[in-house]
Each structure stands twice: as C-alpha cells, then as structure tokens.
Symmetry: none
C-alpha cells in the first residue's frame, strides 16, 4: 500500500513538527506557563489537531522530554562506541555531552530546571522514564570504566562510583555553563574535565616512573 505508507510518513512528520514547537515553548516558559494554544499556533496546527497526536498536554510534554533525552543518550553512546581506546572513549563521552548541550541549550536549560514534581500524579511516568534512561546511561559509562579496570588503568572496585563521579563532573560543569550565561565554549572544557577526572581516578602514570 503506497498510500498507507505516505500517510504514516506524514503522520510522523507532523508529530515531529509539534514536538519541536513544544520544545521551544516548554523551554521558554516551563510546563505550566506554556499553553496548548501557543504550541498549536507555533506549529501551524489547530488546537484540536494536537489531540490527534498526543493524549494531552502532559503526554506531549513527557513525549518531548523522553524522546529528546533518548536522542541525547544515543548520540553520546554512538560517539563513545566509535572509539577503540578507553581513554579516548572517556574523552569522546565528555565531548559528546558538551556538544549536545551546546546544540540544545534551550532544551537543556529547561531540563535542568524542569519540575517533574509539579506534574499531576499520573506523570510519575515521566520521572520514572527519565530515571530509567539515566540509569541506562550510567551503566553504559560504568561499562567503559570497567573495561579500563580490566586494562589496569583504573583502580578496581569503584566502577560504579567513578561512573557517577564522571557524570557528576560533567553535569556540574554543564550546570554552571547553563546557569552562567553560556559563556565560552563548553566543548573547550573537555580536556579540563577529562584531566580532572583521569588524574583523580587513573593510577598515576606520569609521576610513577
């Protein structure tokens, strides 16, 4: 069926247009202050049409956040998996995070501030999905570190702590960059972050010999 296919395609395209407008509006105003009318208008659809694609405001919000988040994590994982060397993987991880944030400052600002607790009870769905996605990401980082441990470049037993620590440093720096007026290049801090992290957890090589 040619026709069904085209319909399917159009449906996804429209859905995406709505999600993109939603991201802009939600990022600018937060969940409550954003209105469906505004999003509909911005996306060039009638209000009612939004309800053909999403069950309601909350569904739209949750879908937008989760799908974007998944894309971010995927992008980062792809960047890391493109490298062979563990240390290069670490660097790629940091850089990929930073680049994504730089390219999606609006979304990330909003995300950092985002107020899951405000959502109606039902929407614990969002919190849970976000945490799930985050845990998957942490486990991915942990995997990279465990490989490093096997290679003898990280101290053993602390893979999990280190994963959180690395994520912590990255998020901390991102937070600062977002809250401070996005000054300077975030990607430019890759080496700084990597260095702090590595020279803390890396069994010190430079002074050893």
């Amino acid at each position: 069926m040619e026709k069904a296919k085209r319909k399917e395609k159009e449906f996804i395209a429209r859905r995406q247009e709505i999600l993109e407008e939603a991201e802009i509006i939600f990022a600018a105003k937060g969940f409550h202050a954003a209105t469906m009318a505004e999003i509909a208008q911005g996306a060039g659809f009638a209000i009612g049409t939004l309800y053909q694609f999403f069950h309601g405001k909350e569904d739209l919000y949750v879908s937008m956040v989760i799908e974007k988040l998944q894309r971010m994590y995927q992008e980062i994982r792809d960047a890391v998996q493109a490298r062979e060397d563990t240390l290069q993987k670490i660097e790629a991880l940091v850089k990929a995070y930073f680049i994504f944030v730089e390219n999606n400052a609006g979304f990330c600002t909003f995300f950092v501030r985002s107020d899951g607790a405000t959502l109606p009870d039902v929407s614990n769905a969002l919190k849970e999905q976000m945490i799930d996605a985050y845990l998957v990401q942490i486990q991915f980082i942990q995997g990279v570190i465990e490989k490093g441990i096997e290679e003898g470049i990280f101290q053993p037993d602390k893979a999990r702590d280190y994963a959180y620590a690395l994520s912590g440093i990255i998020r901390g720096i991102i937070y600062d960059w977002l809250v401070g007026a996005h000054q300077g290049s975030l990607a430019g801090k890759t080496e700084l972050v990597t260095d702090i992290f590595l020279n803390g957890v890396l069994i010190d090589q430079k002074n050893k010999r």
Copy 2:
C-alpha cells in the same frame, strides 16, 4: 518597649512557620500545583493571614527559596572557616554541603527541579538572586583554592576553574543522590569526592618522592 519586642518576635515566628509549611508543600508539588489554601491550612492560618506576611504566592516562594539558600551557603562557609588547614577546609566544604543536603532533602530535591523560568517576569528576581548567591559561594571556594595555590599545593592559574570543578563534582554527586532514591549516606561520600578532586588538582605528592 517590651510589647513591641514581643510582637516583633511573634511576627518572625509566624513568618517562619509559614515558610516551613511552604517549603514542604512547594517541595512536594512545585510552584504551580501548590495552593495558598493548602499552605495556609498546613501552617494553621487562614488564607488571608498569609498575605499579612507575603505579598503573594510568588513572594512567598521566592522568600522561601532565597532564605533557605542563604542559610545553606552560610552554614557551609561557617564550617569551612572553622578549619585552618586548606585541605581540611576542602573536606569541610564537601562534608558541609552533603550534610545540609541530607538534612534538607525535600528542599534540595525541589530546588534541583525548581523551575524558575515558569515564574512571571517579575520573578526573574528569583533567578538573579539565586545566581548571585551562587556566585558569592563560588568566589568563596575560589578563595580557599587561591590560598592553597599560595601554599604551593595546587597548580597556579586555575583557581576559578577548580572552584567550578569542585562545585560541579559536589553538585553532581548530590544530584545523583537526590534523583536516585537518597540511597546510602551522602556525607559518607565526602572522602571519595575530596579524593577525586584533590588527586586531580593537587600537585601529586605521594608519587613524587
């Protein structure tokens, strides 16, 4: 005037009661979902009474956040200043942060999620005040590090970066602890954090000799 003094005291006490209830409700529901009626009820006052102490919902919210934040920063600075040695100051800093968060998990959870952007325009006041308070804190940390640099235990020129990095690690770990279900002792991670930070920025002494 004995009487005026007692009145003053009572006024402050009542105000505090309201702030405490507000913290609970705002933390549980976020700014928008929280209602003045709920806060009034919880604090044991009539709705109108809240307006004797605060100009409106937003003023109540902003006051609560800022005053709590100031208290947190003050507590941390006090803990640091009680120490002489730079390395002990660093440790005290991390520990004080963690202890405050553990004792104020509700507020902090809410704070991490808090959605400044959602507030009406006036309330950029909040964002600005929060950022100002944070910058003061960062400068305080920077001061500690600069003292360390003078003492020759940190690499020169990077005090500012290191301050952000340390704050970043701390906040990252806190974020993880808050988002993850507050599992384990946060204060117990003091050494871990201190070690990661120090063995990254400290001119390595243990391998030197």
Copy 3:
C-alpha cells in the same frame, strides 16, 4: 465565502445576546455586584464564552454602556433630522429623548446612577468616551439652535448656553421620572418641556404684536 459570513453573523448575534443580558444585570445590581457567572448564566453561555467576546468584566461593561449610548444619541439625531422646521426639530428632540428613556428605563436608571469613578484606572476610557459622546450630542443640539438664531427665532449669542439648558431640562425631567417610580408618561411631558424651553429662549411672538 458563505461560511465566513454566517460565522460573522452568528458572532455578532451572540455578542448582542451577552450585551443584552449584561445590561439587565448591570442595571439591576451595578458594576461590582454583578457577576460574570450571573451574566453568563442569564445569557445561556458558559463563563469562559464571555471571554471570547470581551476581554473582561470591565470591557463588557464599557462596551455595553458606550454602544447603548451611541444608539440613543443616533436615534435622537435621526428623529431630529427627519424634521425641517426648527421648532419641530426641538420638539422631536425632546420626544425622542423621552421615548428612548421610556423604552430603556433599566439602562437609563443604571446610567444615571452609574459610577465611573469606581472603575479601575484603565476605565477612564469609559468616562472619556461618555463625555465625548455627550459633547457631540450637545454640539448637535447647538447646531439646531444656531439655525433658529439665523431664522431670527432665538436670541443670538447664546446657542451654547441654550443647548446646555435644553439638555439640562430634558435630563432633569428624565432624572425625576427615573428616580420617582417612572410614574406617568414621560413622552407626554414633551410639550411641557418644549414650552418651558421655548417660551424662555424664544423671542416672544405671542405677546409681541
């Protein structure tokens, strides 16, 4: 576009229904005591629907008053312009005023009592618009009198004073009729009013010769 036209028509019809109900409620209770819920209910719409047609309570109120006032003045001017003779114009003016008031006693009662000063600042718009409309009306009356002066039936130089005087008599009689329980025919007082006015400003013809 047939459809757009029908929509337009319906919109105006609904708007009118709301205005009519608003007139009844505002006339019965005054601006503050009237509630939007009451007006909505009376007009057979939901509360929210009122806000599709008017920006708020004040806009509804101002629109109602101004549009009615304009209609009144227009009706009166039409009646006057249908006559050729100056004295007949005067009589038509008085009668048209009285007939309008008789047919719109509710509105006029409210109007006489209406409390512009109570409205929020914005609504000085109302006061100004009302005064403007009134001044236009006074000038219209003045024009009629000036024509009479040219014809030699009124004393010269006093067109403006006479216009205010005639309007004053008319409004005075109306006021009495409205405040007193609408007793008797107001239109029936046309001759009385005309006679008092004319035999005061008219260069007396009957006794002259």
Copy 4:
C-alpha cells in the same frame, strides 16, 4: 454631669472626623473601591474604632450621604426663607443650590454618579431616604411656586410640574458643570437659569403692557 457631656461632645467630634474622611474617600473612589482601612487611616483611627461609630461600611456610607444631603437641603431652604419676595426666593433657591455644589464639588460629583443599586439589598434604606429627602425638597419648591400662583405671577394648576421643571433645570446645569471639568462659575449661571425658568413659566409681564 460635666464628664458625660464632654464625652458626648468628643464622640460627636470623632464621628464627624470619620464622616469627613469618608466623604473624601467615597467621593474619590466610589462605594466599593473605598476601603475601611483607607478611611480609618485617613481619619487617624484604627479600623476597629470605626465600628464603634458605625455598624459597618454601608452604615457609614448611608450616614454620610444622608447627613450631607440634609445639610444641603437645609442650607437651601434657609436661603430661600430669608427672602420675602417670590421672585427673589426663586433666585435665592437657584443660587443656594449652585453655591452648595461649588463648595462641595467632590461630594456632588460622587452623588451624581452614586450607585445606590450596587448596595446590598438592605440598603434600599439609602435609596428610600434619599428619595424621601428629595420629595421633601420638591414640596418645598412647590410651596414657593404656589405662593407665586396666589400672587398671580405663575400660571395656576402647574405648581408641581413647575417645581420639577425648576429642579430639573438646576440639576441639569449642575450635571453639566460637574461632568464638564467644573469650568466657569456655577453661581454665575443663576440669572441664566432663573431667566429661562421664569420667562417660561411666568405669565409674561414685560411684553404684556
């Protein structure tokens, strides 16, 4: 009892201070927009104290209006009764009206606009008292005219109509003066008004002989 007398005096003095402040505030803002707090503050008393003198806001309002109105009517009657001649009584009546209005523009503006209908149902008391006072006044004017009829200077049978007409002209002119920005002297229009009225209702003397 000396003491009781002094107390009585003080009570009346305080009551008067409140009434005077109430007049200012009510005139400036209307019944609803005026607040008891404002009036109390302006008068230099505590809110609660107002309730020692008046049963509530409405009582304060009604008392203020009625007492002022009575004073106005009394002043006018006094001025008229000071004259012997009927035509001079008429002139004194018009002038006294105008002088009172000029001296009490604030109150009168408010009075013209005053929105009796807005008051809670109970307050029909006000409407009734105002109408009663007005009717007494009309009857007083009617009495003056009847005396003129007996003297043969006014047409018989129309005393009542003429009283309303005269009151109408006066109120009309006052209304114009109040609505228009109080421009010019109102008292200066005494002759104009008297002339229009007299040369309308007076059996024309000047052309007769």
